[in-house]
């Protein structure tokens, strides 16, 4: 399962609208946490985990030759983002990109180019400039030979946003 703050969820969808008709891309920083049920059962890290996103980082799409249907994050930029994550005590737990005028489903290209096992791949469909559907797929397997994408539930955390709104309201009433 993928867990993400509502503000981050909206921000990555907005990124897809901004870059339309081209694809956007970015990186999800956070922590991979074993699901509670698996801890109880003693399954450890090998079992399903929650990729808990704490921060999203926008990345540039280097595929300027075909930006409407391809994305690529420069390795040099990834190195910097991984360094940024390390300094924050976070890990790279996934990536996001958009599919302009195309369903929010992984493509053959997405699958062929997916190598971050255990990470979440978020795809947002953007129809005529408007973000429509956002799906997440978890890349499972032990290597290139047995990797597979699995549909992944997205838990959108609105508690933080709600708490901030409540604090703001209290302040207004005082």
């Amino acid at each position: 399962m993928l867990r993400i703050q509502y503000a981050d969820y909206e921000a990555l969808r907005a990124h897809g609208e901004e870059t339309y008709p081209n694809e956007c891309c970015g990186v999800l920083l956070g922590k991979s946490i074993p699901e509670e049920s698996n801890i109880i059962l003693g399954k450890g890290n090998s079992a399903a985990a929650v990729n808990h996103v704490r921060q999203i980082v926008r990345a540039g799409n280097t595929r300027t030759d075909s930006a409407h249907n391809r994305y690529n994050i420069a390795p040099q930029e990834l190195v910097k983002i991984q360094r940024q994550a390390r300094n924050l005590g976070l890990d790279i737990v996934g990536f996001y990109h958009s599919h302009p005028d195309h369903p929010a489903q992984w493509s053959k290209t997405d699958f062929a180019e997916a190598h971050w096992l255990g990470c979440s791949y978020i795809i947002t469909s953007v129809e005529q400039g408007k973000a429509i559907t956002t799906n997440s797929f978890l890349l499972l397997g032990t290597g290139e030979d047995d990797k597979k994408f699995e549909d992944e539930a997205i838990q959108i955390d609105i508690a933080h946003s709600a708490a901030k709104a409540a604090a703001y309201n209290q302040k207004g009433q005082a």
Partner: protein, 123 residues
């Protein structure tokens, strides 16, 4: 020297994000790394011993593929190696303006319509 391991490969380094390995060249460091963590080898190298095409390796801020000596480049103890798999993808519709047909499950380019100067479609 320190080697930074990407999230998916930490399974093979006991969960360590950074491992320290001695060596005089990039190649020597890699040999020691895969000796210490044997399961890493198949994920970094092809059976022929070449670095896998989707695995990028940076010596500090430089891609080793573009260094003059590549994997034979000399390294110092305070250098850092970062292993970073590539990230790319995209949709299957090849032509600009093409759209995915949700019913047919394939891509299509909207047919061009021709109009007369009066704005009527020709019969």
């Amino acid at each position: 020297m320190n080697i930074h391991i990407p999230t998916p490969l930490r399974t093979y380094t006991g969960g360590l994000e950074t491992v320290s390995v001695p060596g005089a060249t990039v190649n020597a460091v890699f040999q020691q790394l895969t000796a210490n963590y044997p399961d890493l080898k198949q994920h970094l190298f092809t059976p022929e011993g070449k670095l896998r095409s989707f695995v990028n390796v940076y010596l500090n801020d430089d891609d080793i593929r573009y260094l003059d000596a590549q994997q034979e480049t000399a390294v110092k103890d305070n250098d850092e190696l970062t292993i970073i798999p590539s990230i790319a993808g995209g949709l299957n519709c090849p032509a600009p303006g093409s759209r995915h047909d949700y019913d047919q499950g394939q891509c299509s380019v909207p047919k061009a319509r021709s109009y007369t100067s009066l704005g009527h479609r020709p019969r």
